[in-house]
Symmetry: C2
């Protein structure tokens, strides 16, 4: 019945633009409806489709998307009595700090709880500053309720908090609350800007430069919206820096078939965890201004750098110090999330964005888009408020907040050090210092002897390696190809958000597997 | 500086598809950067651009979008010392129940607060069933924290709650949790489905039938995504019913220039507040099956119908009773929000969607889209859980929940009756019985004599009327043209979410204004 009139099935205009998800479509198209229905509800149906069906090409993105939630679902599958062909899966695929046990910031949760249920203002166990903050938030909600619509761009007072945070973060460079937008998650925020930039009505398509490796979904959003992805490669030999030379090559080639419009950067890098040097940022800014490109920067919070060996600068700060020739010209959009680092509220889906040097007419547009596609939920806005205006010295919640922040960052640093250290003891694997984030992205040497076996399964070499690793050990990580590195040198991404003993065990498993793999194929 | 390189300004590919927002663009394009900057920060800049600058064409959508938040912002503008040319603005434009004073459901807020700050599990003043629910939710979150990512489609247990609710709602028609998706707001949910349906790669464009009047942003989302809107007119004489004849006319005309793919319906209607009859729904289903269209239904919760004179049926229930020829074939997507009715949590941005008869491959796609564009925030998912699984008889929170629900619906009914009653005493205004929602959409007779004055200002007659009403009385409502009724008979939409005394006063002002207006132009 379904296949008699499979309209949606045949129709999705995403088909061409999600072409990289060939695996999925292959699965979708080759399988009959009854096959698909039978497969459904079993463990492999979505989570491991790519891994477990070797005839299906494992491609960037699919794996990560399909496997999002894999670990979470495993328990449910077990309760269905379906036996997985692999051992216990270790959750080292996605970076979900609280999902992995990081404790939330108490003050943030208290403010949210009180704003949600204002009778808690009378609860003696809750601190005064949390109550005061909740009062301020409620005073800025229509009807004093977080159940009301907010202004499309977000609550004015919260945009103000963000602007003050930005000024402080950037050593006094002014920030205008009118340039700040509160949104539901970075992917959403980016897709609004992509939508503004990508011109589907012209024959000359809009190009956007995207880094490789790149851990964001921006690549796929751009294609989906009709833009052209212009991948530029980060230089692994130089600590994943952007080079002006590579940018120039990509823009010049791109001009042959599209109109390059914007340059996406991620700092600190995802999944590389590297922090851009100031010199490199200046290069990028100069290049963008010279070539008339916007910069779309996904930036972390400098206070979340835990390695001690480096400092994160922001594009806005660097720009402001480069004089009016640049500072007055460059159109910059900076995206900041509350999902990572010491805040780690992934479930809140909160993100704020600052725009610079943008035409008021365009900003009006952004407001329209937010009004049309829903503004951020109020709880996300509260998370942003607390993230950008934490308790200050002298406030009752200050000591606990500081202790929690310190502990989260200390734990991340310890996990990072253990991961780096152990990976670097494996012959053929080398891992750079991890400065931020929750991922290691080591380089792995793979024996040429494995190529044949990989090709026989129609898999890339790193995918073949990951697939074998999963089947042998239950360690599910993402091959470097998922981030655009289609050829060697090979890498993989693993997150290290595990209790230290479990992390050590996982790394030992990888170590042993790698030795075996090398022995088998060398 | 800005206009020297106004890339974004010139670029947005939305320009053609948001062409109806001419007012905005006119303003954006005609004004120099300095003019725009000067205008910015003043009250009229965005909120009342359309009304206060009569040379700018007032068009559907713009007004509603631009004015979203107008009332909220007014205070801030007053604090800036800017004097508005109009009297106090009465907030009768948007339907924001809690923003207008409806009390939230205590149980919902308690569950959210406890889930957010689990130490409240020890708080003696909170009821046991709220604690129990919070425990269940936390047990379904990775790391027992609402700060973790959920599965892209939403927390499994909540999807289960929704499915059980749907079964109960539809008198036992089975609902599969795998067909339920939890999302951030209806507009987002719809745009994901539109994205799946609209094929931009073909020369034959994808058409979607959209009702007129239509209070949703779907119209504009469809254009933006490259689809063709095929407006079909509801029959005001038959209580805004859909007629098969009109649908046929629109599909046949549409086939001349596009491929009609789906039929959007809203039940209860927005802004009309009418409830579709069962007969009408059967017509719509038969038509959709005969013509091979999907149905995309934005549906309210039947328990939120407060008029007593009618019952709302759901498409799924009606479909299930039409036999396998229809029930096994029609691809149906039903969108349900937690923003309205007795739940009224607009700020949570929560929406759930059920799909029926959809290919598993397409459903896999939906999961991918949700993974890419962010799943719903956990607090939105909690709101959905409580909305679909309220306290049951015997639970400690049951009596309060029932009382709150009753009171919210009683208040809405009282406001609706007052509004209908008073509007119907005005000669030349007639308002149908309001069955649900927060809007009245009366028909107004406007004198031909006003046409000339309206044309002189380049305004539609109903816009001219609204503009004059605002300037004279501060009552800001939306002319029927905003909902696609481009010509007479004229209508306007007002929400009635005001305290009864203030509502009465507002209606008296409208009454007096209407009399004056008629006298002036008759």
């Amino acid at each position: 019945m379904l296949l008699r009139r499979p309209k949606l099935h045949l129709l999705p205009d995403l088909l061409p633009s999600w072409a990289q998800c060939r695996g999925v479509f292959h699965l979708g198209k080759a399988g009959s409806a009854s096959e698909l229905r039978a497969a459904r509800g079993t463990w492999q149906w979505r989570e491991f489709a790519v891994f477990l069906r070797p005839e299906v090409q494992h491609t960037p993105f699919t794996a990560r998307l399909l496997q999002k939630g894999a670990v979470m679902r495993q328990e449910r599958q077990q309760s269905l009595g379906w036996r997985s062909p692999v051992p216990e899966v270790m959750g080292i695929l996605l970076g979900d700090v609280q999902g992995a046990g990081q404790q939330p910031i108490t003050f943030l949760r208290q403010v949210t709880a009180i704003s949600t249920y204002p009778r808690l203002l009378d609860h003696p166990a809750l601190p005064l500053d949390a109550k005061q903050r909740a009062r301020e938030i409620l005073a800025n909600c229509a009807g004093n309720s977080i159940g009301a619509y907010t202004e499309p761009e977000g609550i004015g007072a919260v945009r103000h908090s963000v602007a003050q945070y930005l000024e402080q973060r950037d050593g006094g460079v002014p920030a205008d609350p009118n340039n700040v937008y509160l949104m539901n998650g970075t992917s959403n925020a980016m897709s609004i800007i992509f939508n503004l930039l990508i011109d589907r009505s012209r024959s000359r398509r809009t190009g956007l430069l995207v880094p490789v490796p790149c851990g964001e979904v921006s690549w796929h959003t751009i294609s989906m919206l009709g833009g052209v992805v212009l991948p530029y490669h980060l230089d692994a030999e130089q600590g994943w820096e952007v080079t002006a030379q590579e940018l120039r090559r990509v823009v010049e080639e791109g001009r042959g078939h599209c109109q390059p419009m914007a340059l996406c950067v991620t700092n600190p890098g995802i999944p590389t965890g590297h922090v851009m040097s100031r010199r490199c940022m200046e290069h990028v800014i100069r290049f963008a201004v010279d070539e008339g490109l916007l910069i779309l920067a996904k930036e972390g919070h400098p206070s979340d750098i835990y390695s001690g060996s480096c400092q994160q600068q922001t594009f806005k700060k660097v720009l402001s110090e480069m004089g009016p020739k640049y500072a007055g010209v460059l159109e910059l959009v900076s995206f900041n999330s509350v999902s990572s680092g010491h805040i780690g509220e992934s479930g809140a889906r909160g993100c704020f964005m600052e725009v610079l040097n943008m035409s008021p007419a365009v900003q009006m547009y952004i407001g329209l888009m937010l009004a049309a596609f829903d503004s951020a939920s109020v709880t996300a806005q509260i998370a942003i408020d607390v993230a950008t205006r934490p308790p200050q010295p002298g406030h009752p919640s200050y000591p606990l907040f500081q202790a929690e922040k310190r502990e989260s960052l200390r734990m991340l640093a310890e996990q990072a050090r253990l991961t780096e250290g152990m990976l670097n003891t494996i012959p053929g694997i080398s891992c750079a210092v991890i400065n931020s984030g929750t991922f290691a992205f080591p380089r792995i040497e793979l024996p040429d002897g494995a190529r044949e076996a990989a090709e026989a399964m129609n898999l890339r070499l790193d995918t073949f390696y990951s697939h074998r690793l999963l089947m042998d050990t239950g360690c599910l990580l993402a091959p470097g190809g998922d981030f655009g590195l289609q050829d060697g040198p090979w890498h993989f991404r693993m997150n290290f958000l595990l209790p230290l003993d479990k992390l050590k065990l996982t790394l030992e498993k990888i170590m042993e597997f790698h030795r075996k793999f090398m022995a088998e194929f060398s």
